[in-house]
Amino acid sequence: MEATQLSPSAGIIQYATDKRKKALILAGLCLLLLIVFLLDIIIGSVRIPLREVFKVIFSHTENDTWRYIVEKIRIPKAATAVLAGCGLSVGGLQMQTLFRNPLADPSVLGVTAGASLGVAMIMLAGGSIATLYTIKELGISGSWLIIVAACMGAAAIMLLVMSISGTIKDNVMMLIIGIMIGTITLSVISIWQYFSSPELIKDYLLWTFGSLDGVTGSQLYLLMLAVAIGLIISFLSSKLLDALLLGENYARSMGLTAKRARIIIICSTSLLAGSITAFCGPIGFIGIAVPHIVRSLFNTSNHRILIPGCCLIGTILMLLCDMIAQLPGSQTVLPINIITALVGAPVVIWVVLHRNTISRQ
């Protein structure tokens, strides 16, 4: 065959140097991630010197307060930020590829709305004194009850979306159905809010602001497990995602079983978005913004690079948002959801204006 006689063309050599550049960017981001992670532990209402942080982690410190803060509050919070950053960004990337829509994010499947419905049911039902007591005792974000409710709400919507996705033919229909289910769910919550007392609504609203605090101990391990499974499925399906870049028909002509691929991708996204929403509340904008930053930075569409890239950038951005939320030098902490939107939206605008990664349809 002629193929063997042809030497690799200039483009392929260029491709190799590109690869080296990408590896360099990847290494730089890892370093940045480490720095941001440590900064996130240092910064807060109580400033803890870096040396003391290292002492807590690697040896022993005499200052019990600092050790408590670092071990029980700062590190779990930073770890939660890492998990949320990874999971939401990769979920967003998967949705943007599956639906070939630059505005898609994990919430388009209605999973986030489903989790909110679960939480609303617990908080706004308001009948049972036991419920209120648990919430008051354990705090809103740390309550197992809230987490279980959010998980069940997310799972219910996810099952509904999955059962529909098995019967329909194309992804645009899936996108519309997902958004509509989300809208219906949010309307149900609104009706509930309308008939609830102001105090109950306040509790629910606080949950919707999102929070990285309070996910500790066994909760953190559970979240870690869910996000890890979601990320592994997602990384294993990078070949499916690559094929879907050309649309469903081309993907099928290359041997992809479209329905199976869709179910796998929806499944891992639901797991990622559902678990994170359950533990941290609905955190917006990371899912939309990060995939765009990654595509523009690595200048590629290859999901074997994009998925780790999303994990890195998502994590860094989430940790940065968390630091900003602490309002360094003050005692006030802003809700994380506000910060992700304030940081995420300008980033998306900048990317759209400066890099031609979202091409014309």
Binding site: K239, M254, G255, N356, I358, S359
Partner: protein
């Protein structure tokens, strides 16, 4: 090759369309018995809305057949798994691919999808085939561009390279020349024609561009609006008048002698024309556009009307001149435009 007993693609009693049961819409009721052999370029021709795309998508396995069966290299298409089918048929579709943000090399490399492992990593052999596909389509200069930055013609060549990289015995292209300018169309068709001869692939192209199809097709499948299909060598379909009946629309005539459609029926003043070579052809076209009925001077038309205007094309000092004899006067013109001005 044409006598190969086992066709790459064969249909038996095929009916193509959408939907099931009562809601069935069947633009191609058939039943169709078709065969496509290795080394053959077949053009699926038909007016808009005749069901070309539906039939092509059905043959490609993108939508189920309503009735009948399709065999790909002797095996029932329904029994093939998607991954197996992907090693038999590659496609160039009309679906937009611009959004993908892919660079050209990666897009072509996606053609190796059915052969790579679960991570999609390319072996050296895969890369060699990708390089061959890039060379065969002549897109080396585009490799580092994004698909979104390419022109329609370039992008179509890239999609063809991707299909070639898929290395299948059968290739199907849905309206590959749509949106292309004339030179790009001819270039693409030429490329396909050469590829068929060089690689011995079987290629099916759906198009409504009759003139191009007539030049490159080994066989034409001509689909009519009602869903009947006539097949044969393009020349046979011209000579037995099938083209004329299928493409028959008001004010449009298929000219058997030139193989082209004429928009303008000469109904106005008669004019006679003499001369040689290309200038005669183009002058005739210009005159017909202006509504003249053009005839050579020896035709019976001329004898009935001896006073008809006459245009004589000749050469003077190496340049073409047009001599118009009108009502006994004679004028000389140096371009078709000035001749037409004089006739107004």
């Amino acid at each position: 090759m044409m006598n190969n007993p086992l066709p790459l693609l064969r249909t038996i009693g095929l009916e193509a369309g959408y939907g099931r049961g009562r809601k069935k819409v069947s633009p191609v009721p058939g039943p169709l018995d078709l065969a496509l052999h290795a080394g053959q370029l077949v053009c699926l021709l038909g007016p808009n809305g005749s069901g070309k795309s539906t039939l092509l998508r059905t043959l490609a396995g993108l939508q189920p057949a309503l009735k009948g069966s399709i065999e790909i290299t002797g095996a029932g298409a329904g029994k093939l798994k998607p991954a197996q089918l992907a090693r038999k048929i590659s496609l160039v579709l009309t679906d937009p691919v611009r959004y993908s943000n892919l660079e050209v090399w990666s897009l072509v490399a996606l053609g190796r999808y059915p052969y790579t492992g679960w991570m999609g990593k390319l072996s050296d052999a895969d890369k060699a085939i990708v390089a061959w596909a890039i060379g065969a389509t002549g897109i080396e200069a585009l490799l580092n561009r994004k698909i979104a930055t390419l022109s329609d013609g370039e992008s179509q060549k890239v999609m063809l390279a991707r299909a070639l990289a898929q290395d299948t015995p059968l290739m199907m292209l849905d309206e590959p020349t749509a949106h292309l300018d004339l030179p790009s169309r001819i270039q693409l068709m030429q490329l396909l024609h050469q590829l068929v001869k060089r690689t011995n692939k079987g290629v099916l192209i759906s198009t409504h561009e009759l003139d191009l199809a007539l030049q490159v097709a080994d066989e034409v499948w001509l689909l009519q609006a009602g869903g009947q299909l006539s097949k044969g060598a393009p020349e046979d379909l011209v000579l037995n008048g099938i083209f004329e009946t299928v493409f028959d629309k008001e004010g449009i005539l298929f000219d058997k002698t030139t193989g082209t459609f004429n928009m303008h029926q000469g109904s106005g003043k008669k004019i006679t024309l003499t001369g040689e070579g290309a200038p005669v052809f183009w002058t005739k076209r210009a005159l017909m556009r202006q509504g003249f009925t053009v005839a050579p001077p020896s035709s019976p038309l001329n004898e009935q009307q001896p006073t008809a205007d006459h245009v004589r094309i000749s050469e003077k000092d190496g340049r073409t001149i047009w001599v118009l004899e009108q009502d006994g006067k004679t004028g000389q013109y140096d371009s078709v435009e000035s001749l037409l001005d004089a006739l107004k």
